[in-house]
């Protein structure tokens, strides 16, 4: 079925279903944040679902989504040292919902913000342009919650993550202690070791500014301690469970877990330099946009009309 035909089908679904389903629920955000008011009529659940399906087809066309149905369940490859080899090109699974929200596994996506955390979140929503949009490194755990694919290269004494926009982090095996006063970094000061088949990454020493803990603008502080447990349960899947302890902004530690799917043979990272052309930067406003009822960021924008007005309609 061609994409045009798919769109026609979705449009028909939209028209037919618009009167059958209730409007989308009000914005729901992880944490006690003030909702960002929409400036247009709400998008119905049917419109949102149709939009999501089309977005999926676009993401599939771009090769960014993993193929869950055909992921290998063969035993994971192992290196000469017997450890699982985490190397590969890893893509998001459709089962990770909502992507980009570090509160994904918490009831109502609600993060345990302290009073200082609530203030920091409000500041991010109303005063701060997304650090990633400014081409700063998202760091962890934000990268763990991202929809973007990434690569891992593992050798005999390091695991190295390669991300889009030419970011990387490299963690040596069997380093058990952090320096006494680590330099602040977006990925933190990372040390790692194996616990059975799990590669554990322990990170402290994060930046105390310009870091969002996820796509939704939730805050992270320099007091954060993140512990990731990376496993490859089979050849086709990679899993992380991360424990986040940031006493400045969160009342107690919480966990986030997700799985990625192995890419196809030939999949690889391509050049994508974030700073090449930042024309958009001077036009960007603060915050991530409203958070949808499904926990993902972005306004629910009404469908684009078949024939929008020309710029004269806006006095342009």
């Amino acid at each position: 079925m061609s994409r045009v035909t798919i769109r026609s089908a979705i449009n028909a679904l939209l028209c037919a279903s618009a009167t059958l389903l209730p409007p989308a629920a009000a914005d729901a955000r992880s944490g006690a944040s003030p909702p960002v008011p929409a400036t247009h009529p709400p998008v119905s659940a049917a419109q949102a679902a149709a939009r999501d399906k089309l977005e999926a087809s676009e993401l599939q066309a771009e090769g960014l989504l993993g193929d869950d149905a055909h992921a290998s369940t063969a035993p994971p490859p192992r290196n000469a040292d017997g450890h699982p080899d985490l190397s590969g090109f890893w893509k998001g699974s459709r089962d990770t919902r909502p992507v980009g929200n570090i509160g994904k596994d918490l009831p109502g996506f609600k993060l345990p913000l302290t009073r200082a955390g609530e203030i920091a979140l409000k500041n991010n929503l109303t005063q701060v342009v997304d650090p990633e949009s400014r081409c700063l490194i998202g760091g962890i755990p934000r990268h763990d919650a991202s929809a973007l694919p990434f690569a891992i290269v593992q050798n005999r004494d390091h695991v190295t993550w390669l991300y889009m926009y030419t970011y990387f982090r490299s963690v040596p095996f069997d380093v058990r202690t952090h320096p006494q006063d680590p330099d602040p970094q977006y990925f933190g000061d990372e040390i790692g070791w194996w616990e059975g088949d799990a590669f554990v990454v322990d990170a402290v020493g994060f930046k105390d500014h310009d870091m969002w803990i996820d796509e939704n603008g939730n805050p992270a502080s320099g007091a954060m301690h993140a512990i990731e447990r990376w496993t490859r349960p089979d050849a086709g899947h990679l899993h992380v469970e991360v424990t986040i302890d940031d006493p400045k902004y969160y009342t107690h530690p919480f966990k986030y877990g997700r799985t990625w799917v192995a890419g196809k043979p030939g999949d690889r990272l391509r050049e994508a330099l974030c700073t090449e052309n930042q024309l958009d930067l001077k036009h960007l406003g603060p915050g991530p946009g409203g958070i949808r009822a499904d926990g993902t960021r972005g306004y629910d924008v009404p469908p684009l009309p078949a024939t929008p007005p020309g710029p004269d309609a806006y006095g342009k």
Binding site: V4, R7, N11, A16, S17, L21, T39, H40, A46, A49, A50, R51, D52, K53, L54, E55, A56, E58, L59, E62, R97, P98, V99, D130, E132, S133, S146, A147, E215, R270, E271, A272, N277, L279, D280, H283, L284, G285, P288, G289, G290, G295, T296, R297, G298, Y299, V301, P302, P303, L304, P305, A306, P308, P309, G310, P311, D312, A313, Y314, K316
Partner: protein, 135 residues
């Protein structure tokens, strides 16, 4: 009733999609201001994290205004079937998108009709904006 049940079940299965944009739609564009530009290409930038092309557009008074159109990155556009050889300076494009919030002559190029007649999705999937499908 059966139709309603099938539709509801189908919609429930669709789920939610990853967000992977460099910035959210809402940070830059106004979802209440859809716009169509018809103009000739004066400049093309196949760059990361966004591609841009610029159009000379004639307004109702006959004046020529130059507009910037923001698109996805070259890799994303290419994987969707929009290659850099598909447009050149002087070509006429029809671009449907949304005005920038700050009032500048900048649009989010959601739907682009290419010189060969194809209509392509021009921006970043799942940035919180619309999919660009005509309604």
């Amino acid at each position: 009733m059966k139709t309603a049940s099938l539709l509801a079940a189908g919609i429930a299965l669709l789920g939610t999609l990853p967000v992977h944009a460099h910035h959210s739609f809402a940070a830059e564009f106004d979802g209440t201001k859809p716009v169509r530009l018809v103009g000739t290409i004066t400049r093309i930038q196949w760059t990361n994290p966004h591609s841009y092309f610029y159009l000379d557009v004639r307004d109702a008074q006959g004046r020529i205004r130059n507009w910037a159109c923001e698109s996805g990155n070259p890799g994303a556009l290419s994987r969707r079937g929009w290659k850099k050889g598909d447009i050149k300076l002087g070509d006429t494009l029809i671009v449907d998108g949304y005005l920038a919030k700050d009032g500048s002559r900048l649009v989010d190029a959601r739907r682009v009709k290419l010189p060969d007649g194809r209509s392509v999705y021009g921006d970043t999937a799942s940035d919180g904006g619309t999919d660009g499908a005509p309604r």
